[in-house]
Symmetry: C4
C-alpha cells in the first residue's frame, strides 16, 4: 500500500468512527502499515476533524513515530508505531469511546471478560477463555506509554485501554481492527451495564 | 424468491440493522426461506461487515444449515434452519443488540412481558396476555442450541434469547420479522429501565 | 391542504421520527387537519413501516376516526380526531418514545415539570409555571381513551401520555407539534435522569 | 467574513448539531464574529428548526444583541454578544445537550474536571490542571445572564453552563468552538457516568 491509498482508507474509516461519536472534537487517530523493513506507518494528521479528513490528511512515520516526509502526525503516532512493532499489527485504531474509559475507572488493574459470544469477534473464544484487557495510566510521553503497553502485551489480546483517555485496538487490516474495536466496545458497554 | 433476490433483500435489511448498531463487527445474520420441500434458506455469508453486504454475499442452505452451492454460510445457519423448520417462519433475524442479553442476565429462566402496547407489534395482545421470551444457554453446537430452542418453542412467541450472545426473532417475511424485532427490543429496553 | 399534500408532509415527518427511533416497528401515527366543518383529518395508514411511507399512505377520517374514502387508518385515528376536535389542534403526533412511558410508570397521576428553559419550546414559561402532563391508562377503545383525555385536558398543555403505550403531542401545524414533541421528550428524559 | 458567508457556515454547523440531537425543537443558537470595531456578530434567526436553516436565516447584531438590519435574532443574542465582547471569541455555540444540564444539577457551584485526556481538546492540560466550568442560574434577562457570566469568566475556560437550560462554548472559529463543545460534552457525560 502506498501513502495516497492509505490516506484514502484512513479518511473513510475515520468518517465512520466519527459518525458513531467515537472521535469527538479532533480526538483519536488511525494508522496502517506501509512497509515492514524499515517499519513505516501511515497515520492520520494531527488536529483535524476526523469526520472531514481527505486522502491527503495523512503522514508517513517511522518506528519512533517521527514524520518521514511532510505533515504533522498525531501526537500519539509513537504509540501506534510501538504497537505495530511489538504486535506485528498492520492497522491500529485509537478512539475516545466512553465504555473502555469507564471500565478502566472501575477495574484499573485490567478489565476481565469471559463467556460472551462477542469475544469471537475480538479473536478469542466464546467459552472458558478469560480475556483481560490491559489498562495503563495516561501519559503524554509516548515512550512511557509504549513501555507500559509492552510490559502488559500478550499476543492473543489485541487491545489496550489508556485510563482517563481512550482505547487502542489492532489487527491485520483496518477492517479487522474495526470489527475487533466494535466487538470490544460492545463487551465493555455490556459489563458496565450488568 | 430466488437466491439473487434474497441476497438483495438480505443486504438491504442488514445495512439497516448495522446502522442501528445491532450488527457490530461482523456479528448477526439474517435468513429468508427460498423453498419449502425440501427446505431451503438464503442466509447471509459468514464473516463480512453486515453494513457492506452485496446481493452476492448470500449462501443457500438446507435444513441442517449446510451450504447447498457456493459460499460459506454463517456459523449459526443451522439454528436459522431449525427455527424455520419448527416454527414455519419464512424469515429469521439474529442480532447482537444489548437489551435482550442484559435481560437474560437478570431473568435467565425467561423474560416476562405483559400489558404493554408494543406487544401488539410483536403479534400479541396489549392487555392480560403474559408473554415469556425463552432464554437458552449459549453454545457453539447448533444442534444443542436447536434442541434448546425447540424444547421451549411456543407458536405464539416468535423470539428466542441466547444468553450472553444475542436475539433471534422470526416472522412471515423480513419486514414482519424486523417489526417484531424492533418492538421486542423496545420492550426489553423498557423493562430494564423501569 | 388537500389529501395528497397532507400525505407528502406526513410521510416526510414520519421518516424523521423513524430515524430518531421513535416509531419502531410500525408504531406511532401522525395526523393533520384537512377541514374544520365538518372536521376532517389526514392520518397515516395502518400497519406500515413509518420510515417508508409514501404520499399515498394516508387516509382521510372524520371526527369519529372512521375512514372517509379509501384506505385503513391507524387504529388510533379516533383519538387523533378527538384531540383535534377538543383542542383545536391542526396536527397531532403520536410516537412510541421511551421517556414518557418510563415517566408515567414513576408518576402515574401526571408528570410535573417546572423551571426548565425547554418548557418554552413546549409553549409554556421557563420560570414559575408548573406544567403537569396528564397520564391516562392504556385502552384499545378510542372512546374510553378520548374520554380520559378530555377529562384531563387543559388548553395550555398540548400533550398526553398513555401509560405503557406512548406520547401524544399537538399544535398548530406539524412543525410546531414536532418542536413541542422534541422539547417535551428532552424534559421527560431529563427528569428521569436527575 | 460577510453576512451571507456567515449564514452559510452557521446553517451547516447547526445541521450538524441538530443531527446529534443537541438542538431539539428550535432550541440553541450559533454566532460568528463579523467585525471588531464596532462589534458585529452574525447569529442564527429565532424560532426556526435548526436542522433546516438556510444561509439567509441569519441576523446581524450589535454588542447589545440588537438586530442591525433585517430579521429577528435569537432571544439569547445578547449573551452571545456579551461572551464575544468579554472573551474575544470569534464564534459562540449554544446547545441544549443533556450532560451539562444534568451536571449543573449535581454541582450547582461549578463542575470540576481534571486529569482527562479530553481536556486537551477543550484547550487545557490532560494532567494536574483543575478546570472548573462555571454554572449560572437561568434567566430571561440577557443582561443578568451576561453579568453572571462575566463575574465568573476566566480566560482559560471557554464555556458556561446555564442551569436548567444549556451550554455555551466559544473559540477562535466555529470549528474550534465545535471541537471544544464536543470534548466538553464527552467529559461531562463521563463524570456523570463514573
Amino acid at each position: 500500500m502506498n501513502l495516497p491509498e492509505a490516506g484514502e482508507l484512513l479518511a473513510k474509516e475515520a468518517a465512520r468512527y466519527t459518525a458513531m461519536g467515537w472521535m469527538r472534537g479532533s480526538s483519536g487517530n488511525l494508522s496502517v502499515r506501509l512497509r515492514d523493513e524499515p517499519l513505516r506507518l501511515a497515520v492520520t494528521a494531527s488536529g483535524l476533524d476526523k469526520g472531514e479528513l481527505t486522502a491527503a490528511d495523512v503522514v508517513e512515520i517511522d518506528s519512533s513515530g517521527a514524520a518521514v516526509g511532510p505533515g504533522v502526525p498525531s501526537a500519539e503516532a509513537g504509540l501506534h508505531a510501538r504497537i505495530a512493532a511489538v504486535s506485528g499489527a498492520r492497522a491500529v485504531v485509537h478512539v475516545h469511546v466512553h465504555a473502555p474509559v469507564l471500565a478502566a475507572e472501575r477495574w484499573p488493574d485490567g478489565v476481565q471478560l469471559r463467556d460472551m459470544e462477542m469475544l469471537k469477534g475480538f479473536g478469542r473464544s466464546a467459552h472458558d477463555d478469560l480475556v483481560t484487557i490491559p489498562v495503563v495510566p495516561n501519559s503524554q510521553d509516548m515512550v512511557v506509554l509504549g513501555d507500559s503497553f509492552e510490559a502488559g502485551h500478550r499476543a492473543d489480546t489485541p487491545a489496550l485501554i489508556v485510563a482517563r483517555h481512550g482505547l487502542y485496538v489492532w489487527g491485520a487490516d483496518l477492517t479487522q481492527a474495526r470489527h475487533r474495536t466494535e466487538c470490544l466496545e460492545w463487551l465493555l458497554r455490556f459489563i458496565m451495564a450488568v
